[in-house]
Chain length 64, copies 7
């Protein structure tokens, strides 16, 4: 089966990602969950964030 | 079953959340209800707010 | 059954609400009707308004 | 059956309405037709307008 | 059957219309075709235009 | 059967078109393919472009 | 069967593409995956990007 973009999201669960928002803001943290709208749960040191998917410009994953 | 972002919303019912709006405004209060569009009912001291989901940039939850 | 944001709208029929629009404008009046798009009928002293739902930032309800 | 916002539109056919557009423009005329997207046909003295619904901020109806 | 806004579009095939775009631009020409998204084919002297419906603010029809 | 706007797109395959984007940019080239979202493949001298349909303001076709 | 824009995306898997974003930013890299929303996985030297499709203005492919 062909590989799709959400497979990459799935492979990145529990890993560090950088989320670039359309408004220019950047969020770094550990990806904990996502859904079909690209809503993301990101874990940071002292808080957990639910990022609404329609704000996302791109997500950067570190190559391993 | 895999954990999804809305599970985190569900776990936060009756807890304090901080909602960052796309327009820059920040709303703090107790989360009372949500729906599939991320519309939220937030309880503040003297009033109750229905925040329309499409305005939300991200929601911050305190780690316990 | 779990409580949803539109239940709060429904409980506010015939009551005073304050609607904060995305453009910054604020509309106060008596809520008379709503639909699934959050389109609202609001009664003011001398006129009735149909507010298109996609303009809404949040709605404030007074606590009783 | 509960009253919905589009019932108010329906009651206003052949009556004067004021349409406030998101861009700030205001259109006054006689409402002749509408559809589920809130597209409106408005009759003015010398021309007929089809206003695309997604531009509408709110519509004002005179109380009778 | 009730009259709907697209009936007015249909009656205007092969007639002159003025299309006001959200960006401020105005397009005049003969309406040749339309679809459910309000995409329009407009005939001008030397060229034919396909106007994407989501850019439209309103369309003006001359009264006859 | 009534003629629709996408019939004009279909008749323009392998012909020169001018695409006016909402952002103001203009793209000229030979139309090679399109889909229901108005995504277009346009052939230029040294490169091929996939233009995402939601950026399009209007498309100009030369009359023959 | 008629050729569609996504066939061109499919032919470009493992090839260099240039993605022009609506915000003005340009992303170059090797296309690794895409989906029906035009979400793209792009491989760069040191990182992998998931570009959310609704940010895309156009994609440029080199002619071979």
């Amino acid at each position: 089966m062909e590989r799709r973009p959400f497979d990459t999201l799935n492979d990145s669960i529990d890993k560090e990602v950088t989320i670039q928002l359309k408004e220019g803001q950047e969020i770094k943290g550990e990806l904990k969950a996502f859904d079909a709208h690209m809503n993301l749960i990101v874990d940071k040191d002292k808080e957990t964030l639910l990022v609404r998917g329609d704000n996302i410009l791109f997500i950067t994953f570190n190559k391993e």
